[in-house]
């Protein structure tokens, strides 16, 4: 793929990942990220200033998404363990009701 259109495609995918993350559709975000990875391998080291600006923008977006993902993960872990505690409480209530 020609470098300019490769960089356009990389930005396009990055914006799509950003959107999915904003919608909390982490499965879609992960899928797009995996789809995007091989395209990075096609980048050549020599890029003009405009291309480097786009690449820097992609990197900035990525690090924001990664930070968001980390926060989300710890929040979900808290949520999940609280949900499981409630389920266990309900289950104990059921067990007690059977006596």
């Amino acid at each position: 793929m020609e470098q300019n259109s490769l960089i356009d495609r990389l930005l396009e995918l990055t914006l799509a990942i950003q959107h999915a993350a904003a919608m909390a559709d982490w499965q879609e975000a992960a899928r797009l990220t995996e789809e995007r990875t091989p395209l990075f391998m096609e980048l050549t080291p020599e890029q003009d200033a405009t291309a480097m600006e786009v690449i820097n923008r992609i990197q900035a977006i990525d690090s924001a998404i990664a930070a968001d993902a980390k926060t989300t993960q710890s929040e979900l872990q808290v949520e999940y363990s609280s949900a499981m505690k409630k389920v266990q409480a309900a289950s104990k209530y059921h067990q007690a009701a059977k006596f």
Binding site: E34, R36, T44, Q73, Y80, S91, K98
Partner: protein
């Protein structure tokens, strides 16, 4: 009398006696036919000296079997009271603070109260009323070391006296249709029968248990769904973060980071 062989000098005769002025005879000295249910042993000691002295015959009730039956009634009732204590509120002296599974069950309270009321009430005997108290059978008010509260206590002396002096009262109290035990049987049958208090209560409990089982199944399914949803999120987040981390490292190598030129870039431009 000759010394060789003995000879009969007079033939044996039937015993002759009078009972309350009525003459009777018997070929045997053990007389069973003169008075029904009474055996007269006409021994020398029994008829007195000189022979023919009038004797007074006293016939008393045989109270042993009645006493045994009444004792076993009381024992069985007390077993029931002990059972109340095991399944409901402990009413023994060593009562634990924790009640049985039916301690707050209104059904048990109803049965307990109804049966206790029957035991405590009297039974009509002609114009008067006789109760277990008249036989020396009383309710244990406060639990003792051997008897839980609400159980029956027998005073054997009073019971023996009542059996002797008031057989008709005892008969009325334990009449097979209207007596205390008969009332208890009727009451218990109504509780135990189809559509009775216990059956209804059982069916309500079974409905509850079924509903709980359904709820448990639903909860298990919900838990599985919840776990799988969260797991999918965690997996996606881990994949995303790991992939982005790899991409970032690759780009740094290719183009350099904020502070350094990329190794590949340096290599390519030289």
């Amino acid at each position: 009398m000759s010394t060789s062989a003995w000879t009969q000098t007079a033939s044996a005769q039937d015993a002759e006696f009078k009972i309350d002025g009525t003459a009777a005879t018997s070929s045997s000295n053990t007389v069973t036919t003169a008075l029904q249910g009474v055996t007269l042993n006409l021994t020398a000691a029994a008829i007195g000296t000189p022979a023919g002295t009038p004797q007074t015959l006293t016939v008393a009730q045989n109270t042993a079997s009645a006493s045994t039956a009444i004792n076993s009634f009381v024992t069985l009732y007390n077993t029931l009271v002990t059972t109340y204590g095991q399944v409901g509120n402990d009413n023994s002296q060593a009562a634990s603070t924790q009640g049985g599974v039916l301690s707050s069950n209104p059904m048990l309270a109803t049965i307990q109260n109804t049966l206790a009321a029957i035991v405590g009430s009297g039974v009509k005997n002609g114009n008067s009323t006789i109760s277990l108290g008249a036989l020396g059978i009383t309710l244990q008010g406060q639990a003792s070391a051997t008897q839980p509260a609400g159980s029956l206590v027998i005073d054997p002396t009073k019971l023996a006296a009542a059996l002797q002096s008031n057989p008709s009262g005892v008969a009325a109290l334990f009449n097979s249709k209207t007596g205390v035990a008969a009332q208890l049987t009727t009451s218990l049958n109504s509780y135990l029968g189809t559509g009775g208090l216990i059956a209804n209560s059982q069916s309500a409990v079974n409905t509850d248990l079924k509903s709980i089982t359904t709820q448990q199944t639903a909860l298990t399914a919900y838990t599985a769904q919840l776990t799988s949803q969260y797991q999918a999120q965690f997996t996606a987040l881990n994949t995303l973060m790991a992939t982005m981390n790899n991409n970032s490292q690759y780009l740094t190598q290719l183009f350099g980071g904020t502070d350094s030129a990329g190794a590949l870039a340096t290599g390519a431009s030289s």
